[in-house]
Symmetry: C2
Subunit: 127 residues, 2 copies
């Protein structure tokens, strides 16, 4: 097993990977922004973009795989809505580094005092 950090080479199944990847694209961030206002159907979401409907459909699939959106399939339309929990997870991860920009650490710092666990140790995912 080689006492290595073993990061599961670019593991596509890791939730955090998927979320951060989803957020790394400006179109997808714009879609989330739009959905933060109200749920929308796919065509409505696609309309403002200078891009094919299919492209948007794929972006939505990416967001869906990251669990960042829900879909309500009523009839032929698919209503997408924001699902923010994974964003919260991402924020939790970032919070571990909060001490590096000072302040904001109270009882938190006690918890944080020992070491940062960034979720890349292989536990908690696909045994």
């Amino acid at each position: 097993m080689k006492n290595q950090t073993q990061v599961k080479k670019t593991d596509p199944d890791d939730q955090l990977n998927r979320v951060f990847h989803a957020l790394s694209d400006p179109t997808r961030r714009a879609l989330l922004k739009r959905l933060s206002d109200a749920p929308e159907k796919v065509t409505a979401l696609a309309e403002p973009f200078d891009m094919s409907l299919n492209a948007i459909s794929k972006h939505l699939k990416t967001l869906e795989k990251a669990n960042l959106i829900n879909r309500d399939n009523t009839g032929r339309t698919s209503i997408c809505s924001l699902r923010a929990e994974p964003l919260h997870d991402a924020q939790d991860w970032l919070d571990q580094y909060a001490r590096f920009w000072g302040e904001t650490l109270d009882a938190f710092s006690l918890h944080m005092d020992k070491q940062i666990d960034d979720g890349t140790d292989g536990s908690g995912e696909k045994g």
Copy 2:
């Protein structure tokens, strides 16, 4: 010009893109974790990984392009250290969605009341 959202098709120059992309890889997150403990030279950083030194060097370059690490080139060694500001930026972006998992909104919500600006409007980057 078509009144479109104009998201600068997958703009690789956007700082937020680079940061979220950098965070989407578990090896890079592990490197940041390591650097959150103490600055390290490249060989030391690479050692725990089941991966070539070159691969780590490239990951470090990605982190560098996202401004997530600094390098102190003393002699033949390159000492890498964490630079957390961009993480803070990422957290700020995520904070805009905080209202979706309830609470934590005080004077913040006033600022947020109107609309979310997710940094994909094209301002502030490469004119």
